[in-house]
Symmetry: C2
Subunit: 800 residues, 2 copies
């Protein structure tokens, strides 16, 4: 490690003028925050408050807000001195009014929403729109300029912050962690982000743990702990802990300004040292973190009706209720609002005074205007190779078997090479296990902790992100894409449910973002599930669950896509599409175990473009007439079973006309009016006819297909077999048998649901039953015989 | 705080004989673990190994196992000296073979599974069944005696442990936390359990953080941290950190025995002090915690093919591959197995020798035999009051409005009184917010942290569990019920998705437990969602999501129940049923806001018993003929809209025969063969006919109803309106309008889908459109007019 340390231009101690300006900005913000919660008129208090000035319904959260705006204006001062590109992430997202007010005071709000003008009428509109029908949400939301983080569902502020600064060396993410949020598992699991940060090429996260002591209805764990324990805890996570406590003004301004300057200088020191020539990371830097202790509802009414409010959970939401009806409360509100001296803060026209405006940084340096928080503005298109270069040679269907996911691993290897600062793979320690380890040819796993000689593919320079936390992987990728970069989260299918709520919340974010023209589209959130329910036969029931498909299915069609490529070439085609897309959640499900390959690359491209198609070669459907039955499939393992069933039928009941349909893009199934990918009626009819029974083998829960084909002609004719929560540690073939999607059961299903009886049917059913009986006997007797299981692991296509 | 400290009978230092016996037990366990992974024959190595002795498929995880069994036998020694009731929770659940071997060496396994005898043939069977078709899963699972924790999906070992010891003063839960698991959010969020433990009335958790340094493919964060940082971190969580490191034997035995004794004595000291007369908790005790550092794969082959295995991630699963084909590897395996000197461990017959057996505690004190880990054996029935005592007086439908959830709050208040050690409520700081705060009349919130004078309903004696972590609440309740006690988890509907994966995993556990006669049934896991998607109009889109219904829907019918009571009396009836039930996940969804009450208690009881029924008073269906259309509903808010729609139709289009059907028990909708609650065809026909169109207003996503009614006669006639991911901060009425389930849209739906045209229909549709236009205008103009929103918040039944 180099010992040469370039010193930074330190942030100076604040001048009295600076403090006056910051304090004015803070007062203005508090005033605007309270106004948003309470006022529908008389916005700048140009006359005494009357009940009619009060909104008919009081909504919003005061308690956390003054702390949020206090931190905001102090960070603005640092930015003004340093030109530091900074985004502000609000863990306690319910402090929405403070962040809306910040954007307003910085002028960004009026730039984006011209109706909210920088004058008295604009203030009135700002107030009325807050938490109102036709207005804006109560939380920091997609509509809030400068935000990449809603903070409604708590727990993700640090993962978003760390994701945002990866490969973003010039960015500082200031992340306020509320002490309520700090109780959640995902948040507690995310302090360790610094163990994955490289100060040379990554930016910095400055966490501000804001301890105001209370949640909605009681104290917080960290708020009640001995400060020494809190220091010990955060120090144990690897931080250099700085602390500020109090409610005295201007003392708090002086002390916090000093502490923030210290923290910022420390960050710059770490970075400058790391960015000096010849540097290699030795010990993980001790990044600074500030613990800020202020009373909840700071500057609000100390007591209401003789009961303490400030410094208690009672200030969490609307500290004064019944203001319209209760003259005393109305008077308290007026006194409270006037305590900020609005006459100093807004001029005649209602525009913030120079005193206030001086506190703002300029242009894109305003945190509410940061292009990093509108990542689409900074997105560079991913430099993608021609995915056809990774094509698998498939001379004929099922003539080769491959671990299909290796193909996307090879594709991503090239993505790492071509996009050295804008693409990352995130996975809970499963990159190799998921057979996408080709990326390790060109990048290591990242760690900022010690690297030992015996370690493989692990370094401080690595950019493959492995941490055994689905929350961290998911959240880092969210932060990475929301700031305009590209990536993929690969995980076990069952454990994707761990972060299912994050998938839901991100879908909601994208859905709302689509409605705002000023939000440029960001790269999609790509999720690859590649140790699937069906092939966790070795790990057992807890690892067997296709739940995330069902979760994504209920997101809105504009933002959610589900792909079930049956082989490597289809996976490549799908992956190319996903990597090029914007503002989607793309869910791709394909197993990592060796599996038959069906289509040539050209066939795969055509098949994936259509989203679903007839596999002529698999069925006995001559195309001239309707088939007797359709065997449909979506998902790799069930596709193999369907092809095998069709092959049995072809050989043993050739007079039965069987059509095989494979579905890659699940969202082609619903009607076009239900999803943008939905097939039109003609196309649907071409595949499924409008009356022939369909036996549908599905990767996930059967109900998903029922819900998707609802409204299609005679939807009752769809007989779906899927994962029915039957599993254990067993053979892969036993997994499909247990859930009734094995080839023999499908043959019997096809015969039972065919439109006509064909001679030989009952004999074939008997043959199938014998096959299943043999299987069950095998399972029962296995402990005695222990036969080679290979034949039972994954027979490709049974015969000829 | 009393200063009187009764000293415990300290656990003595281990004698050489004790160490010899523990070491033998440990060697036997390691031998059996490896045997389970590798051997199908020659189980006790009575002859040289040959390829045929090797299993055809090698599965299982070696790396963590020797550490698990090492801890196990040492805890057994403490138990033998102290008689301490103890359960062992295996965070790294993939160490299944070690725990199976422990149960076998303790004799429990043969008691439960008589085929697995205590002789050579039994050992052979033990080996063959492991990870084999027809055998047992590879993880610590439901089949493993002594387990309440599978540890497949990582993160929950500490929440299960803390839940198990609540109100269980005599129980010690030893919880091994793997350093892989320690990276997950839920685990990091669960160290704080001690902040909620009262040493007088609760038992103790002894966490063993087992740092072997590696996950599947790389190092762990805690494994690479400076030990001082790890101490600081855990000390910050409030623990007294003890450390043991090494791989030397017998040195490790001596040091770990000493450390475990110290930890145990410290626990007893804390408890005895707390249980002395006149005690009140002062500072939260510093509970002991042990950091155990041993090489991954300890005692396994140091190198294979010249590459390090022990002490690296390569020992995670099967460290020696290709043993059947590779004679060198076969020889390594034989040497490895013989290094445990099996001849000292098993006698002629194959039974463990006395040397090994001496290490076992006796009877129920064996951890594999603890009745606490088979909680149904200890379950006392909940003492329930007559729920009718809490009935709401409902003179006629919708004549009163109530916050329905207050009723279940009052019921639970009595549960707290009558069941002072066997019932708890768990909630993320939302007990009051969810209107179940009546419990605070009789119990406080629990904290072991400082209590201040200004605090309300907060004390060290409280038994209402509030922590802002869905993972902790869910997991604590799981641990509490799996050890035989009763409870309820109340949370916001949208944020129930945070712990959806836990709901899935617990369902799987119960499903498997149902198959094992020796597992006595445990109280159900009751989940109450009472700040619902529809009524988070004030909090906005991130708080609006009914996803958990969809997740629970896909669990197996034997273990999953979903109730949507429309009012307080129905909620009481449902709650009584849920609290009495065993081995279910009961999901109950009802909002907390004031809402119309529909049924008298007698009506509610009958309605809930049937699960679904016709509301004659709401419709115009005369019962003699089929109705023209059925208006169905499931869920409180949509029920109100359906009743209002029916009322509009009754008044304005009386000649249309409209039937109103309300569904409380969602699982009555599928066919009887799909779910035990499924209505038979006759009953279904009585409600829905077999051909009349049904407009179904549903609380959740519409697809759920489509999947449930699939297979019912002419299922296509069900037109479902549900939550379609449209939301923001707005009025409750706007929420239903946005999602198309408002009364006016339903009236138009009913007309459009009625079996016959009725004069006046088009006029009524025009009227409805005008109503909606008025609403939309209201929303658009709201920011100008700011009318009183009360009328729009929740009109009960619009007219008459």
């Amino acid at each position: 490690m180099t010992t040469q340390t370039r010193t930074t231009a330190a942030v100076p101690a604040p001048t009295p003028d600076e403090i006056a300006s910051m304090d004015a900005w803070w007062r203005a913000n508090n005033f605007l925050t309270i106004g948003q919660i309470y006022l529908q008129d008389n916005a700048l208090l140009r006359r005494p408050l009357v009940p009619d000035d009060i909104k008919p319904r009081l909504l919003g959260h005061w308690g956390t807000s003054p702390g949020l705006s206090f931190v905001y204006t102090h960070m603005s001062r640092v930015i003004r001195h340093t030109g530091q590109e900074t985004i502000y992430l609000t863990g306690p997202g319910h402090g929405g009014p403070a962040l809306v007010a910040a954007g307003y005071l910085e002028g960004t709000y009026s730039e984006i929403y011209p109706k909210v003008t920088a004058d008295a009428e604009g203030v009135r509109r700002l107030f009325r729109q807050f938490s109102s029908p036709g207005g804006i949400p109560s939380h920091v939301s997609v509509t809030t300029p400068g935000s990449i983080h809603e903070g409604g569902e708590l727990g993700y502020v640090l993962v978003h912050a760390f994701g945002a600064v990866m490969d973003n060396p010039d960015l500082l993410a200031l992340a306020v962690v509320g002490d309520g949020e700090a109780e959640t598992g995902p948040l507690e699991g995310s302090w360790k982000g610094i163990s994955f940060l490289n100060p040379r090429r990554d930016g910095a996260v400055l966490p501000i743990l804001h301890l105001n002591g209370y949640k909605i209805a009681g104290p917080t764990v960290l708020g009640r702990k001995d400060p020494a324990e809190v220091r010990s805890l955060l120090g144990g996570h690897g931080y250099d802990v700085l602390e500020v406590e109090g409610d005295d003004v201007p003392g708090m301004h002086e002390r916090f300004a000093q502490t923030l300057a210290t923290a910022y200088d420390r960050i710059r020191e770490i970075q400058q040292e790391a960015r000096a020539d010849g540097w290699t990371l030795g010990e993980r830097p001790r990044w600074p973190l500030i613990v800020l202790r202020t009373p909840k509802g700071w500057t609000g009414p100390v007591e209401v009706d003789g009961i303490p409010v400030t410094g208690s959970w009672r200030s969490h939401q609307v500290p004064l209720s019944g203001v319209k009806e209760n003259p005393e409360h109305l008077a308290v509100l007026e006194t409270w609002l006037r305590s900020y001296r609005p006459e100093e803060l807004f001029d005649e026209s209602g525009r913030p005074t120079e005193l206030v405006l001086q506190a703002n940084p300029a242009g894109d340096l305003r945190m509410s205007a940061s292009p990093h928080a509108n990542g689409g503005r900074l997105t560079t298109e991913l430099d993608l190779p021609d995915f056809r270069d990774y094509a698998r040679d498939v001379p004929s269907p099922a003539s080769v078997r491959e671990e299909s996911t290796r193909a996307i691993g090879e594709l991503m290897r090239e993505l790492y090479v071509r996009n050295p600062t804008t693409f990352r793979l995130f996975s809970p320690d499963e990159t190799n296990s998921n057979r996408v380890g080709a990326v390790f040819d060109v990048s290591d796993r990242m760690t900022a902790e010690r690297v030992l000689e015996q370690d493989e593919k692990l370094s401080h320079e690595g950019r493959v992100m492995e941490v055994l936390s689905e929350h961290s992987c998911h959240g880092w990728l969210e932060g990475y894409t929301l700031t305009g970069r590209h990536g993929l989260f690969a995980t076990y299918e069952a454990f994707a449910m761990v972060s299912a709520s994050m998938t839901v919340q991100h879908s909601k974010w994208l859905q709302e973002a689509n409605k705002l023209e000023w939000r440029a589209k960001v790269p999609s959130l790509n999720i690859l599930l590649t140790s699937t329910a069906w092939r966790n036969d070795h790990n057992g029931f807890s690892h067997q669950g296709p739940g995330l498909i069902q979760t994504v299915l209920n997101a809105r069609g504009e933002v959610a896509r589900i792909y079930l490529p049956p082989d490597a070439n289809c996976l490549l085609s799908v992956a190319d599409h996903c990597f090029r897309s914007k503002n989607y959640v793309n869910l791709v499900v394909i197993d990592k175990q060796p599996q038959p390959q069906w289509l040539t690359m050209d066939e795969a491209i055509a098949h994936c473009a259509a989203g679903a198609g007839i596999w002529d070669w698999a069925g006995t459907d001559d195309g001239d007439r309707d088939p007797d039955v359709v065997l449909a499939c979506a998902g790799d393992v069930v596709t193999m079973e369907v092809v095998a069933a069709a092959q049995i039928l072809r050989k043993r009941l050739p007079q039965l006309r069987v059509r095989v349909v494979n579905v890659v893009d699940l969202m082609t199934l619903p009607r076009a009016r239900s999803h943008p990918h939905g097939m039109d009626d003609v196309r649907f009819g071409e595949l499924f006819t409008d009356h022939v029974d369909v036996v549908f083998a599905f990767h996930g829960y059967h109900g998903a297909i029922h819900q998707l084909v609802h409204g299609r002609p005679d939807a009752d004719r769809f007989h779906v077999r899927g994962f029915s929560e039957e599993g254990t540690t067993t053979t892969p073939f036993d997994m499909v048998v247990r859930n009734g999607v094995d080839r023999y059961s499908l043959v019997m299903d096809a015969i039972n649901n065919a439109g006509r009886q064909v001679r030989g049917s009952s004999e074939l059913k008997t043959w199938c039953e014998a096959k299943l009986a043999r299987h069950h006997a095998y399972i029962v007797e296995h402990l005695e015989d222990m036969p080679e299981v290979r034949d039972w692991v994954m027979t490709t296509v049974v015969e000829d």
